[in-house]
Symmetry: C2
Subunit: 293 residues, 2 copies
């Protein structure tokens, strides 16, 4: 296959494919990740896995490098790459959390079609074309029409009424932010946007804090860009964060119900920081930590 | 002008236009509502006003008929029609609130382009056409591209960092739900959807209540339709509520942070129930109350 003017050989993975490798980046479904994990570990490579197969395994670090990069040191062969919207939400708030711990969060997401892969993106484009030319459309990737519509379901439903995607924000967020008792109540919604997930976050802090102080913490937090000048119509939008590595954070303001809570709005490219870039950053951090030790 | 095969005469409104009328339905900007309000009251017509000019005036009832229709009896010539997303949110929760008072709400909205009028809808269609044919687009009605994007601003910004639209949910909600100390912290977002606003609502109740009990209250609440069977992929979507008068409510589940709170998701057509239909229903209720007295 040609990639950036170079010929690259693509091979089918087999149990013996991993001999001599230092790093294996996994971008496959859970069953394939599970199938090959032992082979990768036996070959003494480190397996940076983008599936959700190992994310809640206590022996597997779940890492966003700018937040809990040192957790990589505890790996036993596998390092898990977190869920896309969880990465974006955690990057947005980690600078605040380090100084003023978050006690709970109410989150509503606005998730792009690219979260469902290239098939989701193609379906969305086809539906837009059908809409502007008044032709019928036939949803296949998404359960319903997504162009000019919203679908309040991402993943499958648990018995508690939450989707698998909604529970990830709490369960993975706890591990990334090192806060095992963090409660997050989340509503995940698919929206007709191509790239970049957006989150409306209401965070309850341990102590009351001014908006100015919070803005300063966001501004100096790694991986974040503060975009918060509403009078000049500056706030994060998914179009601006597409094909960017930073999570944009803005609309920071006091909650009107609880003194210790604040609202914020953030956007991040879920293909880049929400998936591929974070995996690369884990690999880079692993190399850096290996060189240091 | 021809309307439904009938010729209808359109005249410019003047101070003397309202003589002999029983009901005047206003669908104009605040300045025009204020300009003619006295003339309408002097002519002894009742002025049902869709602008926001009088919504917070303590002498003007702010009415959603299925919630506080009896407030009409207190009118002194003017009755105000509430903000669109506030109507939809209040209809979704009023059945619960009557039995188990709501103490506070965290709301994130997903608001359709039709909230900005026919100009907003045309701009959205034009932008979709430009996107599918790879042509440049020039936002005019909205401050930024809205097709395949999200804009976290509706209305102008107050000093507290909230938009005028976000403050309406609290300030108008208090009057409609007869709860002067209700706190609502809201984030309003414009989304690329043609008709129907959607709301992700987190409501803190006075007492803990099971999901089943809440579903029953929503099911029998006037103006609501319970659409909540996630296992069979049944939940409210803006496409289904477009051109409907009912507010669809679903995804009802316990909050994971607070025992007394629940999450829900609702959609309603903001042109119909969120504006025009609610004005007509106020007129019908006014006639009914007049006939009764």
């Amino acid at each position: 296959m040609n990639f950036k003017d170079q010929e690259v050989v693509i091979e089918e993975a087999t149990p013996s494919s991993f001999e001599g490798m230092d790093i294996v980046l996994g971008a496959v479904e859970n069953d394939l990740s599970k199938k090959f994990a032992d082979d990768i570990v036996k070959a003494k490579a480190v397996f940076i896995d983008n599936s959700s197969a190992f994310r809640l395994d206590p022996n597997v670090p779940l890492v966003v490098p700018e937040i809990n990069g040192e957790d990589i040191l505890k790996h036993q062969g596998i390092i898990a790459n977190p869920n896309c919207s969880t990465i974006i939400g955690c990057v947005a708030v980690h600078g605040i959390h380090e100084v003023n711990p978050i006690e709970s969060m109410v989150v509503s997401t606005y998730q792009a079609v690219s979260g469902a892969g290239i098939g989701g993106m193609n379906e969305y484009f086809d539906q837009m074309k059908a809409l502007v030319s008044n032709e019928p459309l036939y949803p296949q990737v998404f359960p319903y029409q997504i162009a000019s519509n919203l679908i309040p379901q991402i993943g499958s439903f648990d018995e508690n009424g939450y989707t698998s995607e909604e529970m990830k924000m709490q369960n993975e967020g706890r591990r990334i932010l090192h806060t095992p008792d963090l409660n997050v109540t989340c509503t995940c919604v698919r929206v007709p946007v191509v790239r970049s997930h957006s989150l409306s976050m209401n965070i309850l802090l341990k102590d009351e804090m001014s908006v100015e102080e919070i803005k300063k913490l966001v501004e100096k937090a790694k991986g974040c860009k503060l975009v918060d000048d509403p009078q000049n119509l500056q706030y994060p939008m998914p179009l601006d964060t597409s094909d960017q590595d930073l999570v944009y954070v803005g609309r920071i303001r006091k909650d009107l119900c609880q003194k210790k809570a604040v609202n914020l709005w953030c956007c991040g490219d879920q293909i880049r920081k929400g998936a591929a870039i974070n995996a690369i950053q884990i690999a880079e951090k692993w190399i850096e930590l290996n060189e240091r030790n």
